[in-house]
Amino acid sequence: MTSTPVSRPDEVRRYNRSSLLRLLHVGGPVTRARLATELGLNRSTIKTLVDGLAEAGVVEERVPRPGRGAGRPSLLVLPQPQAAVVLAVDIQVEHVAIALVGLGGLILGRNSWNLHRRTREPGEVITHVLESTSLLAADLDLTPVACGISVPGVVRRADGRVHEAPNLRWSDVALGSRMSGALDVPVVVGNDAELGALAEYLRGTARGTSDLVFVSADIGVGGGVIAQGAPLRGASGFLGELGHMIVHPGGRPCYCGNIGCWETEIGESALRTALSLPATSPRGAIIVELRELGADPVASVKVLGEFAEWLTLGLVNVVNLFGPEQVVLGDLFAALPPVILEQVSDEVRKRSMVSRAVGGVRIGKSSLGADVKLLGAAEAAFEGVLDSV
């Protein structure tokens, strides 16, 4: 995105071209007429741009299915996924997922694997990602032009250095430079919750909502904030540790050195405890338990009442701090029984004065499922790509 005034004709053309591509990438197939309206350009300019992109194989044009309206239908412009492909990597504590994602956000191929002990070490993860990527790329005959990586930890945006990812037991890993060195393409490394927020903003239920917070529970709890249409970042890009907001003085100790962090009350292990599941039970078992519980609203409230109260309490703080239009709950939170989600949103709307002021913040679950961070990583990679396709 550029804020400098554009003047020279070729600059104008470049600017228009990347705006058009961004629109297609995020919004999907659209008619020429609609492109003209959305971009505020006349039809002949759109024609020139689209013709150029079609010739370069970046878009395809198709006659839309005959509609009711009279007259010649406007041609439908479709992004061609293979025209620009990025590698998305989602590093989680228990597993790693990779995907080759095409223009328009289509997952063209994917892989994932569980991590245990030694395979969780940075070197092992990097090697596995690289090997797996070249296999997939060769099989699909695609070459990624950029890479986005989601990491559950504190990440320096400028060079992709992972300062600390405690649940992974990583500290000070030069992930960005090691990956870009090996892949020979630009690499963006982001905090998982920040990338989750980006995915929700561009492709999820919060699409187009300029102020939103994404909160998700994995092993850890994280939050990402989109404020006035842009990711909110702190000094050096370090931000997003909402899970370490202290909500319970005298509560449980947290590995970050504090006591009573939000994460200790609403993270995966707190949820397991609330559900009386053994500490070894995998993610899928928690999902099953939540689904079964969800069929019984009374039992849901009985089992998860206290958990819901901690979730509410933290969310009231979050809403009061950031004043979002919408809060999106991801990962394990998206599997919470409907009655709990309802109760939490009602309570937050009641208790948060900011929510009351804006007429009630919307709180709901993510629609992107387990792929939310993977899709966010892809979008982070695409940011630098759309200008140069």
Binding site: H95, A97, L106, I107, L108, G109, R110, N111, S112, W113, N114, H116, R117, T119, S132, L135, L136, A138, D139, L140, L277, P278, T280, S281, P282, R283, G284, A285, I286, I287, V288, E289, R291, E292, G369, A370, D371
Partner: protein, 257 residues
């Protein structure tokens, strides 16, 4: 809760004079991938076929979701929500993806689906698995790659809301990259809450997707372990010798034969 969704005890199977499965106990848990491993001829496929109702077991009990059940035919298994995916890509070549996904699963005549809804259901199921490698659900299965065919076979179990999926060497006929894509799907099935049993000879694959490993040795279940508690070496020993250190069969001098 966290009781197994499928609980098998004391299962025996003979083919004439050949005793292939001895007092097998096996638990399958929802939300987990259990790898079933063992040497050639150890009885893995036979066990899956007994669970799927293709072979009748000589003795043993099967509990599904906590209730005793009698699976006497593949139809019984399908009705409970147990789906099997075989190595030999058991799809009908001459039919398209939609037809294959609905093949043999006509539900009560009261809600026969029309073509358009069937097509929509097939498309939505594949999309829910974020499998977008097939261009159209009207593609005949014969035109798909091996990996895509296995994907369709697995998607079928999701479409029919199966609770347990048994996969007998689903990637044996596939190349490396295709294998990885199928295993990714297998892992994600469990993450969505299905109980998954995966038969595989590839230890690297097993360690990458399985939460537990069950080892068959000469028709006996010698170990059921958490993947994170064992090494490749230990599992290979269990497969080839039936024991590894304290895990598996008792040492011969202590064994009561």
């Amino acid at each position: 809760m966290s009781e197994p969704i499928l609980h098998i005890t004391g299962l025996n199977k003979t083919f004439g004079p050949v005793h292939v499965l001895h007092d097998i106990d096996l638990d399958v848990r929802a939300g987990e991938v259990t790898a079933l491993v063992g040497d050639n001829g150890a009885g893995k496929s036979t066990l899956v076929k007994c669970i799927a109702g293709i072979h009748g077991a000589d003795s043993g009990t099967v509990e599904f979701q906590g209730k005793p059940v009698h699976i006497r035919s593949p139809k019984d298994a399908a009705e409970l929500g147990i789906e099997v995916v075989y190595q030999d890509l058991a799809l009908a070549d001459n039919l398209d993806i939609v037809q294959n996904m609905f093949l043999g699963r006509e539900r009560g005549s009261s809600w026969l689906l029309d073509e358009a809804s069937m097509e929509k259901a097939a498309r939505e199921t594949l999309a829910s698995l974020s499998v977008r490698t097939v261009k159209s659900v009207r593609t005949p299965v014969s035109a798909l790659s091996g990996g895509q065919r296995q994907t369709v076979a697995i998607a079928k179990s999701v479409l029919w809301d199966s609770k347990v999926v048994l996969l007998d060497e689903p990637t044996a006929a596939l190349g490396v990259a295709q294998t990885r894509q199928v295993l990714d799907l297998v892992r994600r099935l469990a993450e969505q809450g299905l109980g998954v049993v995966l038969i595989s000879h590839n230890m690297a694959d097993v360690f990458e997707v399985a939460d537990r490993i069950a080892v068959l040795y000469l028709g006996r279940m010698v170990a059921e372990v958490h993947t994170k508690d064992v090494t490749h070496g230990q599992v290979v020993e269990l497969i080839t010798a039936g024991r590894s250190g304290d895990i598996g069969l008792a040492r011969p001098e202590h064994a009561v034969l």
